[in-house]
Subunit: 194 residues, 2 copies
């Protein structure tokens, strides 16, 4: 990466944290200047508008979250075990971008707001659900998961329970809700076996 | 109510919708003027600062949501049936204040932001969890729910799954996630019986 690309990435990283914590309305160039140590001109040269910046910041935050949540899963062959490990990753790995789950934040921030950012959040959700749905379907082809399970339904339930528990956990500033969701969802994953 | 109280309530109602849809940062007196048809001075006379206005708007939105979610439940004696009906109310009754669940919105909006509004969201969550916990405990005393169930744990799981499903449903603009959560949680409630 050359110097310009490095600066751009530094801006995106800091913007990702600010956006994730404060939402689109709360993302301010002044805070970004303080966080990056760059002059206003240095930021504008890369991002002349907040819209582009916010979209790139969201993509960065989401990519980071997905990588973290799938960490170590490639070595797990059994689909039920994969899903359980995924749940545990969500519960135990604190995200690299501060402010909680970028998808949950963007979903709430944009559901009555910024339409372009909303589309990014929708795409993130679709991608996540389709990853989980594929794992369930693969498990069914391999005889690891009961054929009567509706793959997309199981995927949605996993995501809903995890995201809701994260909201409670962050508001309570306690891990109880996430720990309880983990144990409940591990049982749910076990119940998918034939 | 006299004229002044009526005006105040009209401001709070409109502010509740704006806050719930746009968050604290996005709540603007200009939009409130347009929504209420009042002059700036007329609003300032009741709410000289946005902080007070936002807190009162949140309380109004939450009170409305709680009333709607508990609608018709007072006539249900059995605790498991009460919990199931509560789940169905959450899924099927669209809230009177636009923008989705006030608790979910305020939790995400304030978890890295406005501390006073955050305390209101915390209190709302505590109140909700304690209502559900009490229903489970009452069910245990009456022999309707298995004594080994941890009441507060069951309460948290219900709230987490519903709120997460609502987030997905609103982002997908489809009812599937909520309908799936309803059927999953009805099974969960049935599993609480002795």
């Amino acid at each position: 990466m050359n110097k310009g690309e490095n600066t751009r990435l530094r801006i995106v990283k800091e913007a990702a944290g600010l956006l994730n914590q404060r939402g689109f309305e709360g993302l301010a160039y002044s805070d970004l200047m303080a966080a990056t140590g760059l002059e206003k001109g240095g930021i504008y040269r890369h991002f002349p508008g907040k819209q582009n910046l916010a979209e790139e910041a969201f993509r960065y935050a989401w990519k980071t979250a997905v990588e973290q949540r799938q960490r170590g899963l490639e070595s797990i062959g059994n689909s039920v075990e994969w899903l359980k490990a995924f749940v545990s990753n969500f519960v135990h790995i604190r995200p690299g971008v501060p402010g909680g789950c970028p998808l949950l934040n963007a979903a709430i921030d944009t559901d009555d707001g910024n339409p372009a950012l909303r589309r990014h959040a929708e795409r993130a959700l679709r991608g996540w659900l389709s990853t989980l749905t594929r794992v369930v379907s693969r498990g069914q082809r391999r005889g690891e998961i009961h054929p009567a399970v509706e793959a997309s339904r199981a995927a949605r339930l996993l995501v809903a329970t995890l995201e809701g528990a994260l909201m409670i956990s962050r508001l309570e500033r306690k891990t109880a809700a996430l720990a309880e969701a983990e144990s409940h969802l591990h049982c749910f994953c076990e119940s998918l076996r034939p």
